[in-house]
């Protein structure tokens, strides 16, 4: 382990936590009150990506980790939300692609 470690301050952790809570409650509001249009699907996937990045960079403290580790964790929250959005907005091509 290196002698110097980059530390996320307690205030930064607390801010990240509050933002994650607010994003979660906004998703719940969307679930209960809004029809799932393409725009809403994209918005929800964007929220997923933001939440993932907050956990990875702030709570896991990977913001200054080796690029491979940070990159692979963040890639998960860039690639998957995009795939989810595409699958939900364009289900028919996916259905044709996966029909034997």
């Amino acid at each position: 382990m290196n002698d110097k470690q980059h530390v996320v301050s307690d205030n930064a952790l607390r801010r990240a936590w509050v933002v994650l809570i607010l994003l979660t409650l906004s998703s719940a509001f969307i679930a209960e009150s809004v029809d799932p249009t393409a725009g809403i699907v994209i918005l929800v996937c964007l929220v997923v990506a933001i939440k993932g990045q907050l956990v990875v960079d702030r709570l896991m403290g990977l913001r200054h980790a080796p690029p491979l580790i940070r990159g692979m964790m963040l890639a998960y929250f860039y690639v998957l939300p995009i795939l989810i959005a595409l699958a939900l907005i364009f289900p028919e091509p996916l259905r044709r692609l996966t029909t034997l």
């Binding site: 382990m1 002698d3 209960e32």
Partner: protein, 200 residues
């Protein structure tokens, strides 16, 4: 109380040194786990494309607030484990243990809410054989629950080792590994929650 050893720590603004929390074996495990869940998500999306009506109706019968509460609990547990890591890095063992206890408390809360949710589903006439949406719902959420239980064991073991004095500000790789595994559990749920409860 023993003197607290402090590492030369940098805060935001200083030039940070790249450092990898946890060893490579833990990261391989984490990537294997998230890949496993990614495959589950892809199966879910394919099934959804073939059964649009079932997957549009399925989430409306779930208890959304159980999903919300569990999301809040897991996010809070990630916060707690991050605070425990911050504490051990500056040698505050008692504080570290309290935050690890809070992490396990959140995990127990998650398990309780999940048990209640499954009971609520059963009372509503929903189970894993109702239709393909609920089969996948139970497969995803029960699999995730198993990971939460494993994670709680890992955090508990790390807490015991912390209590026994095995971890110091200079050496706490085992605790970091358990913490990273716990964050992975939260990260996976961040995707499960909207997939099952929000997207209708």
């Amino acid at each position: 109380m023993a003197a607290v050893a402090r590492l030369p720590l940098t805060m935001d603004g200083d030039a940070p040194q790249p450092s990898s929390p946890a060893n490579i074996a833990v990261w391989i495990l984490i990537w294997a786990e998230v890949t496993e869940f990614a495959l589950f998500f892809l199966v879910f999306l394919v099934a959804r494309s073939h059964n649009p009506e079932l997957f549009a109706e399925g989430p409306t019968k779930l208890n959304t607030w159980a999903g919300v509460i569990n999301t809040l609990l897991l996010i809070s547990s990630s916060y707690c484990v991050a605070r425990s890591m911050a504490a051990i890095r500056i040698g505050q063992v008692d504080r570290c243990l309290r935050w690890l206890g809070a992490t396990i408390g959140c995990g127990l809360g998650y398990c309780a809410v999940k048990a209640w949710e499954y009971h609520w589903n059963h009372a509503s006439g929903l189970d894993s054989r109702t239709d393909v949406f609920y089969s996948l719902y139970y497969y995803l959420t029960f699999n995730h629950l198993l990971h939460v239980l494993v994670g709680m064991c890992a955090i508990g073991w790390a807490g015991l080792r912390t209590y026994w004095g095995h971890f110091t500000p200079a050496q706490h790789e085992g605790l970091e590994g358990a913490a990273c595994y716990w964050h992975m559990i939260d990260l996976v749920w961040i995707i499960i929650f909207p997939l099952l409860y929000v997207m209708r």
